[in-house]
Symmetry: C2
Subunit: 123 residues, 2 copies
Amino acid sequence: MNIEKFIKNKKIKLTDARISILEKLFAAHRPLSYNDIKEHISMDKATFYRNIIKFQEEGLVSSFESNDKNRYFEITKSPHPHFICTSCNIIECVQEPVVFDLDGYQIEDIILKGKCESCVNVK
Amino acid sequence: MNIEKFIKNKKIKLTDARISILEKLFAAHRPLSYNDIKEHISMDKATFYRNIIKFQEEGLVSSFESNDKNRYFEITKSPHPHFICTSCNIIECVQEPVVFDLDGYQIEDIILKGKCESCVNVK
DNA sequence: ATATCTTTGCAACTCAGTTGCATAAAAGTC
DNA sequence: GACTTTTATGCAACTGAGTTGCAAAGATAT
């Protein structure tokens, strides 16, 4: 993915900090928290979070809160559910569609919680 | 609901603080956060959170994190999905069952996020 | 090159939830 | 009821993710 193209036409400037955040999010195949990537990016956390806010305003990035009190971020793709393991806290993107309709409500995201394949057999 | 009976046979003592937390959770028809009920209970927040931990150890209470950085608590009933409004942050229990199976995974809870009936028409 | 507007790092702050510790209050026993 | 043991409580100090104010640095347009 070409980050420059990705940011073009959005009303935000192209900076090293922004490129490295987006590169990390593109490379991951699951949502990441600040703690997941802070070792791999060299910027203040204020810069990280302020850029995330910008990305979300532009619709480039989506986020949600997990069990472990961290917020998780991913490049906005076609909507898909997420799975959060209540044992090891890992987060995965779910490929299978979850169909659900609630009269009068507009569903934007679905989060499934439970035990992942690794944890389901442990205890 | 009789709180004394509810707590009986669990390895925790019956105290005023515990009774008032459980009463509030029973009376509500949706999950509540500490902020939701702190005005209506007279105890230190340390006492509140420590008791919630006990209740969860005994399986009396369940909880999850929401969008607004607060943790929400409810009396453990038969499993049902929850809806979180991304505009007004209200949380509702969903009565319609959501069927979903993920091979090798054990689903414990389903959280739907989106716009509630009041917010879906606003913006 | 220069002017303008945006972004950055730093440090200080916020706020939900946690922890240590001394005191108080349950529950069981006599 | 008085005594003993165990558990619960309040207070204050702490933690850690995320936020904010501000001055300095960097991006883009002219």
